[in-house]
Each structure stands twice: as C-alpha cells, then as structure tokens.
Symmetry: D2
C-alpha cells in the first residue's frame, strides 16, 4: 500500500527501505532535499513539500512522521490543514503518550485519525525488523496493518513461546495494537524504562567485576577513607570481554543488550573512547513519573535514570552540601581526586 | 574422561546426562540411593559411598560436588581425606567465592586441587548447555577442559560477536577460566547480581503497565491519600502477555528472561498461582557486599535485592516506625488495606 | 489585623487560636457549623456561609483556606466571585505548586491576589508555631506580614545561626517569602520530600538494629534461602527505645523527628499498634517528579517514597513476575510465609 | 577517677579536656610528643610511652584508645602485653564491631576487659558532650560509669521524652550500655548509616530547590536530550540559605544537621569552596553490609552511600558501558559536558 514518510533521518530512511523491500509505495519528504533525492534514487517517490506529498497520495492518506520529539507539534500543525477527513497521521517517534492524547483530540476535530507508534530496533531495524507498539482507533490501525507487518520482524524472528500455537496471536509478529491513542507510546515508554534498568544492571555488574582487584590498590589509612577489611578477597583481574562472551551462551542473563556489550568490549576492552556521560531522552523520565503517579514502586528503573543524571554531574550541588555538613560537624576536609 | 559426581539433584543429574551424551564416564553418588540407581540405569556407574566413588575412579581423580551451599563444607571434609595428591575437587554449586579461597587453601595443604565452577542454565541446561565460570589453578582447569567443553553450550550457541573470528577465544564456547580459586564463583556471583537487576527491571516495568488504568479506580479524597492529578492520563488496559510477545521480536529489551516471562504470562496472565514472596539465595547479597567493599556504586542491583526482602515483609518494623512518626507529628492514622 | 479562615479542622482551628492569642481578629467558617460554634466560643467571629464571612471582613480582605487539597479548587470557585478587587486568597494547605500557578492566573484576571503558604508543624504548631513557606506577589505578602509573624515560631525558636547577627534576615522568624505564586508550595513540597527521606533513614536504621539478633534465628538450609555466613556476628538484642534516647543527646543524628520517634518507642517498644501501611499524601510524589523533570538525581527521596508504596503492597504484581521467572528458569517454588 | 588516653588528635584531646573539667585524672600519650606536652600544660599527666602510661596508672587500669581505625590493632598489640589481669582497654574510635568481637576474645584470653565505645559529637563534643554507645561486659562498663557520665551530655541536654519521668532511664544521660563487646560500635555503625541517609535527604532536597529555575535554561532540542515538558513550571529562584533558616523553626525537618547546613549556607550560599567529592569512612559501608546480611531492606541508607561513591566518580566504567550500549544499538554519540 501507499505511505507518506516525513523525516528521512537514520530511522525514517531505513523504514522506507524496509517498506519498499516489502513492495509498498513510499512518498517521502524531508526538510533536507538531499535525503529525499537519495531515497528517490532507491525507488521512493520524492516530494518537494508537505503539500506535494499530500498531492501524491491517494485518499484516504496515511502519513508517517519520523522526526525528533521536539518537532512533532510543528509538523502536525503544518500537515493537518493539508489533509482531508479520514486521512491518518502516524507519529512513529518518541513522543510522550500525553502529547498523543492531546494531538489525537486536536486532529480528531478535523476528522483525521491519529496513530502513535513506538518503534524499537535502532540502527538494526532495517534488517532485524522493528518492534512496533501501536495506539489508535481500530479503523486507522486496521488500515495500516500491511505497513506494520512489513516493518515488524515477523513471527519467525523468535521461537514461539511454549504454549502458543495455531494462528499468530497479537504481538507475535512483532507489532501490537496496544489500545487507544497514546497506548503505543505508553508501552514504548515503559519499554525504554526497562531498557534503562537492564543497561544499568549490566553496567553495575561489569563495574563490580572491574573492581575485583581492589585489594591490589594501595590502601590509604587516613580518617577520610573507608579501609578495605580484607584486601585478599579482592585480587582478581577479570577479563571482562571474555566474561561477556561466556554469558552469551547458556546463561540466565543472555540478551541482545549483552550481545551488543560483548561487541563493544571485543573492540575496546576499556571503552576508552567513551567519557561516561550518559544521555537520557525522555522515556526513562516519563516512566519514572508514571510509576510515581500510579503509586507503583520502581526503585530499579528510577535508580537507573538517576545514575544517568549523576553521570552528567547533576548531583554536584547535593555533593557539596554533604561535604559542607562533614566539614561543619567533624572538621573533615575533602580529599582531592587521586 | 572420567568424572565423579556427588549430588544428583536436578542440576547434578542433568549434568551427568549431558556428560554421558558426550561420551564421558561418570561415577555418581548421592545420599539418596534412588537417585544413584536412576542414573545408573541411564549408564552411569553408581557408587554406594564417597569411598566407593573414590575407589572406582582412576588417579588423578576429579570429583564434582553439586550440593546445596550449606553442605559443601561437610562434603569436602568427608571427601578430602579419601583423595590422593593431585586429585581435584570441583565445587559446581553456589558457594561464596570467599569459601572457595578458604577451602582451596585447606585442601591445597593436602596436595589437592580445588576448582570452583559457577554454573548458570537452570533446568534448561541439559539441552541448552551450561554457562560455566571457572576458577582454579591452570593444571587442574586444563585437565578438566573436556568436561567443561561437554557441559558448555559451545560456540555455535550464539552468533559470533562482530569483530571476532578465527579460533574460538576464551569464553566463546560458553565456559571461561576466570582466574585463581574463587574467580569462577566471583563471576557467577556478579552474574546473579545482574540477574536480580534484570528481573526487577522487567517486573517493575510490567507493574507500571498494569497500573496504566489507575485513572479508572475510585479516587479517595481524604488527607491520607495522594490524589492522581490527571486520571484521564491513566485509562489504558494493557494486555501484558501480548506486550511480552511484541518485545521478544526486534526490540532492544529482548532476552532469555523475557522469553521465560512471556511463557509464564501466556499460561497465566495474572500470575495468580504466585504470592509474590521472592526468595534470594546468596549471590545477590554477596554482589551487593562486594560492591560496597570495592567502593563501587550498585544502586540498581541493590534495589533489586531489597525489593526481594520487602516482598517477604522484612520491612515491616521500618514501616511501623514511619507510621508511628506520622502519628506523632500529624495525628495521622494508618489507612486499612482496601 | 483581620483574617478570614475557611476550614476549621485540626490545622485551621489551631491556627485561628494562635492568631487570636496574638491579638488578631478572625472570622471563621467551616461546612460543619459545630466547628464554627466552638471557635466562636473561644473569641472568633463565626460566619454562617462564605458570603457571611466576606460581609464581615473589611476590604481589602484576606481569606485563608485550610481545606484538604482535593477541595481547594471548589472552595476557590465558590469564594472568588464573592470577593472584590485587591482582596487576597491564601491557600495554606498542601496543594501542588502547579495548581497555585494556575489558580493565581485565574483569580488574578478578577483582580484578586493569590498567596500560597506551605505550613509545617502538624499538631504541635499551636504551641511551637508553624514554619511557613510563602509564595505570591509582594503587595499581598507584605500586607499579610503580621499574620505570618503571629503564626511563625519567631526568631527565638532556635539559636541564631553562627555568622548571622543584626536584624533578623528572611526566614529567621520562621516564615519566608519564597517567590512568586507557587514558590511557597514548591519549597513546602521539597520539605516534605526531605521529610520522607529522613523518616525512612531512621526507620531503616532502627530496623537494622532490630535485626542485630538475626544470628539467633533458626537458619534454613534449603536452596531457596540465603545463608547467614557468620551468625555469631548477629547475636545482639538492642533496646531500641534506649538507643533513641542516647541519640537525642549530643549525637549527629539528633532531630525533632528523632524526638518523636523516641516518644513513640517509649510508650510502645514494638509499635504493635501499627500495621506498617504508610500513607503518602502528594508532596513526596511531586518532589520525585520535580527531581525527574529538573534532571536532578534524588535516589534517597525516591527510595523513601517507593518504600511507602511497597508498604501498601503496590509491588505485588512485580513480585509475582519475579517469582514466575524463578519458576521458569530454575523450577524454584515460592517459600510460604513463616 | 583515673583514665589513660592514647591518641590526642582532635577527638582524643577534647575528650581529655572534658574529663578533666569533670575532675577526672588523665594520663595521656600520643606518638606526637607535642600533643602530649600541650595537654600536660592543661593539667593532664603526660606519658612518654605506652609503658610509661601503664606505669603511671593504678590497677585496675582503664586505657582509652582514640586512634584511627587502621591503627587500633597495632596499638592493642603493643599495649595488651603491658597490662595486667582485670585492666580494661576501651576503643573509642570507629572500629568495626566485628573487630571488637575478635579483639575482645583475644585480650580476654589474657584476662583483660575490652570495651567498645562509639562516639558521636564531632568537634562540638567538648562543649555539647559526646553521645556514647558502649559495648562490653557489665563489670568493665560499670567501673567506667563515671567516665561515661562525664563525657556524655547529661539528661538535661534534651527535654525529657513525654512519658518518661522519675529516675533517668538507660540512654537518657547521653550514654548507653548497648550489650556485649561490639554492641556499642554496632549501634554507632547504624547511627552513622542513618547520618548518611539524613545528609543525603537534605542534600537532594536542596539540589531540587536549586533546580527550580531549570525552565530558564536554554532547552536543547537534539535527540540526546530529554525535553522539559513545561518550562514555565520551573522558573523559581529560591534563596536556599533562607530556606534552611525557615526550616530550623517549627518545621518537621528541623535537626542538628540542618542547623549546620544553615551555618554553611549562611557563609557560602553556593558552597563554592567544596568540590563535591564526599568521603565515606567505613560505618556507612558496614551498615549496608549488615542490612544485606540480616535480610533487611535499606534502600535509603544504601542509596546515600552509593551517592558518595558516585561523587568520587567510582561509577565511571559503568557509565562508559551504558554509553557503549547506546552507541551500539542506536548510533548515539555522547554529548560533551556543556
């Protein structure tokens, strides 16, 4: 079927390619004409403007936005007036589900459908397929089913879960209609919250392995340093890259994230090319807020989020407050970085 | 080669079976004679006592213990005097690496080798193979290589990590010599610590999905209840079992633990057969302690551990203290369970 | 000066009493006529309705609302139309600062001032005075200064901070104009967030003292229980009520919350009258959300909040998920409560 | 009575002074002869060696050690052989209670008593008195009662807890015999664990107040930055030093630590003289380990400890691992520090 794609960055362009491989017809637009030209050279229909894209699509139209979260509102504002009743806008980026709820109402007043699609898979999706979490009304989602099926990895991407057989059940092909508008991004939000937790779990564990030789470091004996009670217990030099390999096979902690970690460690055992300033891009925060508002404890996911904040030194003033207290009650001086 | 196996529970028995499939000869012993008989019926050589087992093995002997952590010391104490210089004891269970360090010294005085082997794979290891993390001296570990290779999943159990080619590197076959005595259980300990974190990350996330309909619950308006500021933001009924399926294909959070979660949810979407009292069996605690002693932050792994404690109501007195304070300063009464 | 007070619960009634002690004239109203009658008997001017209260106050009027957060919007909606340009509404309860921002704009369109006042002090404020955190425009806050001074504890309630002398500086009398509308409740919100953290710190610590005799408990030796490696290290029976006393004098952890805890433990060492279900009433959640939105790590405050959620079993489904995983990969059964 | 004091640093010297004020006779020794000379000039009896000190004390002797934790074992080893049956060694520093258990047994074989005394009060103790948590056998602790009473703040240091009257109860004078050897340092350990939690609670809260103007910062709109959904909600410039003052009077969060924080902020509102590298000196770690071993959740105390580790960049490798994963799955680059 026909689909309009707005936003031809890494994600948008690869999704167009995967759709074309499956025989779909894509009309593509980006503020950067070169991106349009490149995909036109691969078989897509290029559009020179949103209006041009709309003109080249048959009604009822489906236009997929793959733009940074900060630009979705502007793009919807430009696009919606060009569309007609029963057309559909899909937001495939990383919007907050609350924005979906609002936008869905806004464009709904004009008779448009609004579909939110949380998309996981990163730079690997072109070949592996994208895991799609979809929110929206049944009519719009139903009409887009061939698109979701082409983008998703398909049922064979994983062995079927024991106990499931017969016709594929919802989710088994790698895409899921999660509920009304916002439900897709809600599920994607929690997906990313979990992702933060998983990443931090591996990261902390590998850091503990790295510290297994702490007993070999010179022990300070001043009053500002906690002594290591039994240095002999910490004299291991663990080959972390090899540990990642052994865990990839047969262990309980095997995962795709571990596969990626093993790859990173294989080429750079100390990861020296990184400084350790870890960004967060919204969903982890929204997940924490959802947990708090629902009254559901999420200590692991929230700790993982806060670790990212700390990695960027957002804890600096708090730490100064603690140093100030120690100075006040005990006359303790800060120790310089060694 | 020949191996003695002491302890024929779920893990020990399956390891014997996997070894026999690979052509190894196993002399088996358990305090329960029926367990011995069963494996003898499958081709193992049964032993009626530790002494009988030792007699049936050719020197240098290798005896693998697969018994609960609490019984290892007793078994070593019984077994070591029966062995001869250059024989090897392997502890394949869940001992603390500190016990390995101690035991290794103790039996070393007698000229015995001590090998610790952290074993992951659970009830699935018979078919999938076991991920093995090994500590010990080079001579003993080298001699046991055929055993480790038979038990491990082998290099083909996972696609090779990009950037790795040529001869298999350490760990790629699914077993790894991690270092001197204790190093194997140290790595296994951290493995389990990570496992706790991963499990909690999924569990918290799915609990947030479950709370996505919090806005539909009756909102209390008393002074003891935090009001939900925007109930309309939480009116989703998410099909959690289907979400697990969609994440299994193409998403960033795909993992073996997610596969298992999907299986559990497929057969019991509400998991009603569980009460939610989550045990912990040592390694998670030791990982937290190692992090603290090394001076390495592990908020995620430790939160996951504490969640298990709380699931078993070990926080009860602390909670009473908080209720008492609220009563003292604000005259607040506790709200009964609804 | 004259003040109208709406809401004569524990907090509102005591504030009226403290104001009258200082010579202020209070016109009081509550939906419960008996509350009005009681305070009228103590010298206040009773009002039979909001309209009656407004009639009995001279312009420019100041009306203080001391009602549950869930009823503020309704009360403002009823009251504002009865007031005149330049009158002031004060919300002294536990509203979210975001509601202040909104309400301030709404009543500002009518020419009214809106002042938010976070109030700490609980049932003790009548005698100790109330710590007041105030937001609003300078004119309205300035006009209310005599009221804030009467309610606040005054500069002598604490020894002056070393380095401060001369005229009292902002905050030293126990009340502070924190900024524009919402600033008072913002500071009060963080105050309560800190309060949660402090309470949990004491509660956890006392729970650890209580567990100091863990080595005397029977140690299970099954595979589902983490063994206590050194039971002899945990054979203390600590008298927790006496510990609270000793810490009240000269220690670094002395505080008002500790004083209250000591009082609770003195009369009930096991706190058996409490079940340990700890409520949370909004500010702790909003503090966590503010931290997340600001990008500031708050692991301690958030952990304290989540502990309250867990105390009310909001972690149940998450725990079931973990038990389900353990069952799947290891065949582990849950242990029953002992 | 007579007391020997070994170690005349800030703590030891002030304790001698406080004891002499109360009429006790102190024989003092330090490796630094100048420290001895200084206190001798104030009325103490100087000793030139441990032997000299022992010679100058009448049997049964009591010798108090006030030396860094790392030097206690050495000092005990030097001192014990010089003492006689029924003499007492008191460790008033920050030893682990496990070391007390061991040392108590060791010197007990020689007929010596061992008393551990956790001491809180810091540089303020000379005037405020020291909060003392004592472990040891009844005979030795009983004999030292006059010393403890002189060092402790006394019952009048705090208003008596409601419900307590008549003769002072244990702990009310500011010192407590907590139990057998180690019990004093166990209670002091938990005291410090709580202290870490309290400090972090204030520090995090003040950091959130500091971030209340986050909406005024330039918002990045790249894919690596979580957007602030409602900047208008975060435009407050809070005067943190004044907030600390207002909380000191009448609020629920009043405490001695808050008093100290107010003092630090009064002289340096931005705390620029600190870098934010927060030391930890043992007890916080041991508290976390005790919680883990007892099976008692301590998420707040442990988070506070880990925050200190992170303040010293001990999370660096973990953060690099997370950056590496983000690079692998999403091609995300790290953002430089701004």
């Amino acid at each position: 079927m026909q689909l309009g794609m707005v936003g031809l960055g890494r994600m948008g362009a690869n999704m167009v390619r995967r759709l074309m491989r499956a025989g779909h017809e894509c009309v593509v637009y980006d503020v950067d004409p070169d991106s349009v030209k490149r995909l036109a050279g691969e078989g897509a229909t290029g559009a020179s403007s949103l209006q041009d894209m709309v003109d080249k699509l048959d009604a009822p139209r489906s236009v997929w936005l793959m733009v940074p979260a900060a630009f979705v509102d502007g793009t919807v504002a430009d696009l919606a007036p060009l569309l007609s009743k029963d057309d559909t806008i899909i937001d495939g980026g990383n919007s907050s589900y609350r924005d979906d709820q609002r936008r869905s109402k806004e464009v709904g007043e004009q008779g448009l459908h609004y579909v939110d699609c949380g998309t996981s898979g990163g730079v690997w999706g072109l070949d592996r397929g994208y895991s799609l979490m979809v929110g929206g009304d049944d009519a719009a989602v139903g009409r887009l089913q061939p698109i979701f099926e082409a983008l998703a990895p398909g049922i064979d991407a994983a062995p079927r879960t024991p106990g499931r057989d017969g016709d594929p059940q919802p989710g088994e092909a790698g895409w899921l209609h999660c509920g009304p508008p916002g439900a897709g991004h809600f599920v994607k939000m929690v997906h990313n919250g979990i992702e933060y937790g998983l990443m931090a779990a591996y990261a902390e564990g590998l850091n503990i392995l790295r510290g297994a030789n702490a007993g070999n470091a010179k022990q300070a004996d001043d009053a500002e340093t906690a002594p290591l009670r039994d240095p002999d217990a910490y004299r291991y030099d663990i080959d972390i890259a090899s540990v990642a390999e052994v865990w990839r096979r047969g262990s309980v902690v095997g995962s795709w994230l571990l596969d990626l970690t093993a790859a990173a460690l294989a080429s750079s055992p100390q990861l020296d090319q990184f400084s350790g300033r870890v960004s967060d891009s919204g969903e982890g925060r929204w997940t924490a807020i959802a947990a708090v508002e629902e009254g559901v404890p999420a200590p692991v996911l929230t700790s993982a989020l806060f670790s990212r904040f700390s990695s960027r030194d957002c804890d600096e003033f708090a730490n100064k407050v603690m140093s100030a207290m120690r100075s006040e009650f005990g006359g303790h001086d800060e120790k310089p970085a060694s």
